[in-house]
Subunit: 371 residues, 2 copies
C-alpha cells in the first residue's frame, strides 16, 4: 500500500460517476493558479454563463457549490426554509426522502407526498396536499429519480405551486445535460445538480440556480441561514459582486474540469445531447428486453439516462452477476437502492457513457455470461 494508485480501466454504466472525456481529465492535470487570480475569476465567470445556458436560465444567482450534489440539495433547502415554515416534498425514491430529512433539520414542517417507487407524483396528489397546506413556502420534487429511473413532468406542478404562492425546488442531479430541462420556461425557482452524471465531469461540485422569486425569499429571511458554508448571502459575493469577497478556497482543478466538460456540451449542442441520450436509451432498451430484462417504469416516464430494470428470471443472484461484470469485463452497473435493493439494476447512459459502443459492450458481456 501507499504507492501510486493505478485505477483499473472501468466502463462506467452505473448511476454515476460516468466515464470522463480525456480532455476533461487532461484539464485537471493543468498546474494550479490562485483562486483569486484574475484568470481564475474569468474562468468562474465563463463557468457561470455555461451553467446558465445549460439550465436554460438567465438567473443572476447561478453558481457552483464547492461540494457534491447532496450539498447542492442542502444549499437550496437551508437557504429557503426557516423554522416554522411549511413545505411540500414529493417522495418516490431515495432522494425525495433525503429532502425531507434536510427540510426537517431546517425546522420546517414537511407535508410529504408518498408515491409508489417507480411512479411519478400526480397533479391530484399535489392538489390533495395543498388542501391541507394551502400556503406552503415551497414544493420540492426530484426531476429524475436516480434510485428508480423515473422522469417527472414539472410544468403543471409548477403552475399549481405558484398559484399557491410557493416556490418550486427541483433536484436535477440526473437530468441536467441529459434530458430537456427548462428552468425559466418551467418556472423553477431553485435547482441543483451534480457534475458526475450527464455532464461527465468528476463528482464533487454542484451547480445551482435561484430565480428572482427565490432571491426575494432569501433576502426576506427572518433568521440567519444555519449553515455558514452554504449560506448564499456569503457565497454569492464570492461568485459575483463587484469585489470578489473571499469566502472559501474554490476547488481549482475541479473547476478546470467542469469548464472543459461544459465546453464539450456546448460543442455538441445541448439539444443534440438530449437527443443522443434518448436514442441510445432506445437502443439499449431493445437489447435488454431481448435478453429478458424488463423496465420498472412506464414508457412515458422513463428516464433515458438511468435504466431501472428487473432482471431475467434465470438470474438468482443479481449482486453476483454485477460482480462478474465488474471483475471479468470491467463494466460497472448499479444495484437497487432502498426498497429496490437486490431487485433491480440501474444502468446508466450518461454523457460520455451514453454511446452505442457502451451498450454493445454491456450486452455482449451479458450474453456471454447468461447464455
Amino acid at each position: 500500500m501507499n504507492s501510486t494508485f493505478n485505477p483499473p480501466k472501468r466502463v462506467l454504466m452505473g448511476p454515476g460517476p460516468s466515464d470522463v472525456h480525456p480532455n476533461v481529465l487532461k484539464a485537471m492535470s493543468a498546474p494550479l493558479i490562485g483562486h483569486l487570480d484574475p484568470q481564475f475569476i474569468q474562468l468562474m465567470d465563463e463557468v457561470k454563463v455555461m451553467v446558465q445556458d445549460t439550465f436554460r436560465t438567465t438567473n443572476e444567482l447561478t453558481f457552483v457549490v464547492s461540494a457534491p450534489g447532496s450539498a447542492g440539495m442542502e444549499t437550496c433547502l437551508v437557504n429557503l426554509l426557516e423554522p416554522g415554515d411549511e413545505c411540500i416534498i414529493c417522495i418516490n425514491g431515495v432522494f425525495g426522502s433525503r429532502m425531507v430529512t434536510i427540510a426537517e433539520r431546517c425546522g420546517a414542517t414537511v407535508h410529504a407526498i408518498h408515491t409508489v417507487w417507480g411512479e411519478v407524483t400526480s397533479i391530484a396528489q399535489v392538489k390533495e396536499v395543498l388542501a391541507v397546506c394551502p400556503n406552503p413556502k415551497l414544493l420540492a420534487i426530484v426531476h429524475a429519480e436516480t434510485s428508480t429511473g423515473v422522469l417527472q413532468p414539472l410544468q403543471e406542478i409548477s403552475d399549481i405551486i405558484h398559484d399557491a404562492g410557493g416556490l418550486l425546488v427541483v433536484d436535477a442531479v440526473t437530468s441536467w445535460c441529459g434530458v430537456p430541462l427548462e428552468v425559466d420556461q418551467w418556472g423553477i425557482d431553485a435547482i441543483y445538480s451534480g457534475t458526475q452524471k450527464n455532464l461527465s465531469a468528476p463528482p464533487g461540485l454542484s451547480p445551482v440556480s435561484f430565480s428572482p422569486r427565490a432571491v426575494a425569499v432569501l433576502e426576506n429571511r427572518k433568521t440567519v441561514v444555519q449553515s455558514w458554508f452554504l449560506d448564499l448571502n456569503l457565497v454569492k459575493n464570492y461568485w459575483a459582486g463587484t469585489k470578489r469577497a473571499y469566502h472559501h478556497t474554490a476547488p481549482i482543478s475541479s473547476i478546470y474540469a467542469l469548464h472543459e466538460a461544459l465546453c464539450l456540451v456546448k460543442a455538441e449542442g445541448l439539444e443534440n445531447r438530449w437527443e443522443r441520450h434518448q436514442a441510445v436509451h432506445l437502443y439499449l432498451q431493445v437489447a435488454l428486453e431481448n435478453l429478458g430484462f424488463s423496465y420498472l417504469v412506464q414508457p412515458q416516464y422513463r428516464l433515458p439516462n438511468l435504466n431501472a430494470v428487473k432482471l431475467p428470471k434465470l438470474v438468482t443472484d443479481e449482486a453476483q452477476l454485477r460482480s462478474q461484470l465488474l471483475q471479468n469485463y470491467n463494466i460497472e452497473v448499479g444495484g437497487g437502492l432502498g426498497d429496490f435493493e437486490g431487485k433491480i439494476w440501474r444502468i446508466g447512459l450518461m454523457g460520455e457513457s451514453c454511446t452505442r459502443l457502451h451498450v454493445n459492450q454491456l450486452i455482449g458481456a451479458l450474453q456471454k455470461i447468461l447464455y
Copy 2:
C-alpha cells in the same frame, strides 16, 4: 470564451493553494472508477491511514470531508455543539472569527477570547474566561492563523480545557504537514485541515479526526445535527463500517490527488518535511529583511509556512506591487486580510512551494522591481 482553458504557469507563494507536484496532477488525470468500486474503497482505506499518520493519531473516526477546509471547520462545530451549549473560541485573526459565526449558528453561547492580531492566545486569557464559563463544551483555537502567520502553542491550553471537562477543537488548515502537529500527544479532540496548503494537493477536501472523547460527545447528543451533509453519524458509515453505506458520491479524482500527495509526504518523511519548512523559512527571512521587509510576529511564534511581513517604507502601494509580481513574474503572494488589508503581505512557503528556488525567484523579482 468557452474554449479550453490554458492556465498561465504561476509560482504560488500566497496563502494557498500551493504549487502541486506533477505526480499529483497526473494522478488526477487517471480515468474514474465508481465510488463504491472495491478498488476505490481500498483507496479510501489507504487515505484514512495516511491521514491518521500525518495527524499523528490512532483516532478511528478519521476521514476526509468532501468539501474545502471551511466545511471541515463547520463539520467539527456542528457535530459537537448543540443549542444552549457554552464554548470558548480564541480569536486572533480571520479564522477564529469564522468559528464564532459558525458556533453561533449552532445555537451555542460563545465566550470569545480576543487577542491582538499577530499575537498568540495566552494561558492567562484562557483561565480568565474559564472563571466566567467554568464548564465549556469545548474550546476552539487556530493552530496556524493563515491571516496573521501566528503559530499557537497548544499543549498547555489542552491541559487546561481538559481539566475543565471540555474538548479541544483545532484548526490545522495551515499547520498540517508543515510544522509539528501531534493530535494524540497534545490531546486534540477534533481537528480539521485543508489539502491545498502544506500537503500541496488541489483545494476541495478537508481531512478531519475525532478523539474517542469527541465521539462520546457526538453519541450523546440530544438533538440531531443541523447539517445532513456534514452529519458524522451518517458520513462515518460511508468512510468506515462493515458495510459502506451510501451517503454522497465522493469526489473520486480529488481523492486520487490526495492519495498521491500523501504518498509524497510519506516518501519524504513527515519530520523531514517539517524541518524543510523551517529551514526554507529562515532562508526567506534573511533575504526579506535584507530587502527592508519586517516580520509581524515575534520570532518564537512565527509560522514558517506563512510569512506575514510589513513592507519596506519605499513601497507606497502594496497591491500594485503584488500585481506587478503576478503580471510580470508570474509570482503570486498574498495580501493582508481584514485588519491587515493593504498593510502586510502573506508569503506562503507550503509543500511544493517551499524550496530555496522559490525564494530565489521571489527575491530576485523584488530586487529587480524595487532597487
